[in-house]
């Protein structure tokens, strides 16, 4: 059963964020307005491959890191 208006709190890059319950990684990135290319998503220290973004469900209390390349030496 789909639950509406139900939100969960997850940690993304050490910030607490409210997102609709049990959404996929793809949906989470969409909500955060983050493009899928050249990023890495790690949930509870496990890297989620890009091919799993549409199927992997983000759960309440998950700790998510979203990583990109920046200037560095």
């Amino acid at each position: 059963m789909v639950r509406y208006n139900s939100f969960m709190r997850i940690s993304i890059n050490k910030e607490l964020i409210s997102l609709p319950d049990n959404i996929t990684v793809s949906k989470m990135l969409e909500k955060l307005e983050i493009e899928k290319k050249f990023i890495a998503v790690e949930i509870n220290l496990n890297i989620i491959p890009k091919s799993d973004y549409d199927s992997h469900i983000v759960r309440e209390n998950d700790s998510v890191e979203i990583i990109q390349a920046v200037g560095g030496g």
């Binding site: 307005e33 220290l45 390349a69």
Partner: protein, 275 residues
């Protein structure tokens, strides 16, 4: 002064090629992309440097960032440059290994990495124990490891032995601009190497880059000396020339140093000194 025989040691032979991860590089200058004013300046400096490989760091995305804000890799075409992600900010093997897996995911499976495990914030000196530990695991995991390390010849050799693709000894601490502090060590590393030796960190100005190449190193990685120069784009151009001229001089083979003069003009037919 450096003894002459050390300078001469490998000046003979054909032009050696720089091959990293099965790709031949014409430029022996690798550019770090940190500390530039903005992406536009980074791009112009890269173009002026002629570099074909650039380093990047991996960091958390800024959640507040506008969708239209460009990602570094939107600005710098990964098809044009080889992207070498580093593990900067890691102070133990475990974090460095995690960073390498993350960077491979960011770069769609590319397993080329610049491993650096640092000892402390003040010196940013490599922690060689943790570096070796991480290097062993990463090489076994199929990563192509270019490794930042101290200028200790034994450690450099050990990193080669565990399978690192290239060893990158420091000339001086990161961002210090002090130039090569221990030429004898760098020469020893070069002399014993079977993988490309690329000096990473410590170059301050163009002559430092030339000296690195004159010593027979395969390349040099520069960030701060370009990014923080008065005119980064002009310095990028200077470094390009310095690396090229240093390498040419190395290939050409320098003259031995002598204690006394040696006249450039012939003594035969000299009308001023009949004897």
């Amino acid at each position: 002064m450096i003894p002459l025989k050390l300078f001469k040691l490998s000046a003979e032979g054909d032009l050696k090629k720089l091959i990293l991860n099965d790709k031949e590089y014409k430029s022996r200058l690798i550019i770090g992309t940190g500390k530039y004013k903005d992406f536009a300046q980074t791009k112009l400096a890269l173009e002026a440097s002629g570099a074909e490989m650039i380093t990047v760091a991996i960091r958390r995305i800024n959640l507040g960032q506008n969708k239209k804000d460009q990602n570094l890799l939107d600005f710098i075409d990964p098809k044009k440059y080889t992207i070498l992600p580093n593990t900067a900010g890691c102070f133990n093997a475990e974090d460095a290994i995690r960073a390498c897996h993350l960077s491979a995911e960011v770069l769609n499976g590319e397993k080329l990495v610049k491993l650096e495990v640092l000892g402390d914030e003040k010196t940013l000196y490599p922690n060689v124990t943790e570096t070796l530990k991480a290097a062993k695991i990463l090489c076994k995991d199929g990563f192509k490891v270019m490794v930042y390390t101290t200028d200790d010849p034994l450690v450099a050799k050990e990193l080669e032995n565990v399978g690192c693709m290239s060893v990158m000894p420091l000339a001086a601490p990161i961002g210090s601009g002090l130039g090569i502090q221990n030429r004898y060590n760098i020469l020893s590393i070069v002399e014993n190497a079977t993988t490309p030796i690329i000096v990473d960190a410590g170059v301050g100005t163009a002559s430092d880059a030339s000296i690195v190449m004159e010593m027979g190193c395969d390349g040099v990685l520069i960030n701060t000396a370009i990014a923080c120069a008065g005119d980064p784009i002009m310095m990028a151009r200077a470094m390009k020339k310095a690396v090229e001229s240093g390498f040419d001089a190395y290939q050409a083979g320098r003259i031995p140093k002598k204690k006394y003069a040696s006249a450039s003009s012939p003594s035969e037919g000299d009308i001023f000194n009949d004897n």
